[in-house]
Structures are given as C-alpha cells and as structure tokens.
Amino acid sequence: MFEAAPIFSLLSHALDNAALRQAVHTTNIANAGVDGFHRLDLVFDTQLRALASSADEGAREPSWVGTQPRIVATNDAVRLDQEMALMAKDSVRYQALLGAFDRTTGLLRLAIHEGKGA
C-alpha cells in the first residue's frame, strides 16, 4: 500500500535543507569581498553519507531525516563565479524536489478520487 507520510517527511526535510543552501549561497554572494569574511558551507552531505551507510534496512523512515545541517565557515574567500554556478545547480535541485512533492500530492489526489482523476 502506498504510504505518503514518510515520503512527505523526507521531501520536506530535503526542501528545508535545499532552502538553507540557497540562503548560504545568497550570504556568500552578499558578503563577497568583505574583509575577514570566509565562504560559508553546509556540512550536510558528509553527515548524510556517514549515516546512510549505517541506516537500518527495515526502518520506515530513513534515520538521517532528523539530522540538522551545520553552517560552517571555510578558509576560502568567496569566488563569485563559483558561487553563482553552485547556486544554479542547487536551484535546479530545489525545483526537482518541488516536482517530486507535486507528483506525490498528485498520486494522493488520484487515490482520493478513486482513480477517476481530479
């Protein structure tokens, strides 16, 4: 049977983190060239990889859903071209997540209308 709750939870978490990534890119671009400012980054994927490798097989919801990414300052200066490219990439990722969210909602809508369409 199709269970939407874990999927919504997962997508919601992923969207939150994607939005935080966008905020970090925006901050880096706004503070580019400011004395003493170092590029910010999210340590999220690293945590994900570590946790995903030890995830329980039978868990209803992935165990890393509750992890909170941390914003850390790197030792690098901000490079505008690099930051713009990363922002474009993460923007596409965010829109892909929105698409997945929309399709999941569409499946639920189909089920509510007993497969007769909206």
Partner: protein, 137 residues
C-alpha cells in the same frame, strides 16, 4: 531564519555595492580637483564594510557599511605654472586617484551588484514556486 531574511541579505549586498559605487564615482569625479597651495587635496575614499549576524542569536551574516575611510595616498604633483592653484614652483597638487584602479573597481562593483540581484531573483523564484504548489489542481 525567516523565509524573507534571505531576500534582506541580498538587499544588503546591493546596498553595499551602491555605497561602493558612490565612493568610486566620487573618487573619479574628483580626480582633477585641485586646491589652493597649502590647503588639503581631495583624498580618495573607500567604504568600510563589516559582516554582522542577522539576529543577536546568530544567523547568517549580512554586509553592512559602517563608514567611509580616506585612503592615505600621496597627492600627485603636476607642473602647470599657469594654473590658478599652482604653488610658487609652478606645481599643482592633484588627488592620488588612480583612474585605472577606479575603473576596475567600477567593473567589480557592477559584477557584485548583478550577482546579488541574480541571487535575489533565484530566491524569490524558488519561494514563488513553493507557494504555487498549493494552487495546482
């Protein structure tokens, strides 16, 4: 962090670029300003920018212009005995503005402003797309 503070950060970035533009424009506009012998010559200025957290509890930093500083560059002496501001030896003191550096600064400001504007647009676009999710049938 509030949903709209990301837009505020981009706006702060654009404010900083505008302040830098005003300083660079003033430096270029005054590149030929002279003054009477003994009087201070125009000194190029630069904006002082600091990163401050959005909230007292921390959060993402936004750039803020905290003031302007006069650059300590020596005046440029040009021999022009006919100039009304020439000294007794015939030299006129001009500001130590480097026009090439100022032009490069203007290009950097333009790119910085465009990048902030683009970041603003992307953030707004993503917010709008998220809000539109609930409106689909």
């Amino acid at each position: 962090m509030g949903m709209f503070s990301v837009l505020d950060i981009s706006a702060a970035g654009m404010d900083v670029q505008q302040a830098r533009l005003a300083a660079a424009s003033a430096n270029l506009a005054n590149a030929s300003s002279t003054s009477k012998p003994g009087a201070p010559v125009y000194k190029p200025v630069s904006v002082v920018v600091h990163s401050v957290p959005v909230s007292a509890a921390g959060g993402l930093p936004r750039p803020v212009v905290t003031g302007t500083a006069e650059l300590d560059v020596p005046a440029h002496l040009v021999y022009d005995p006919g100039h009304p501001d020439a000294d007794e030896r015939g030299f006129v003191a001009l500001p130590g503005t480097d026009p090439i550096s100022s032009m490069l600064e203007l290009i950097s400001i333009s790119r910085g402003y465009e990048a902030n504007l683009r970041a603003f647009d992307v953030s707004r676009d993503l917010m709008q797309k998220t809000l539109d999710l609930g409106n689909r049938r």
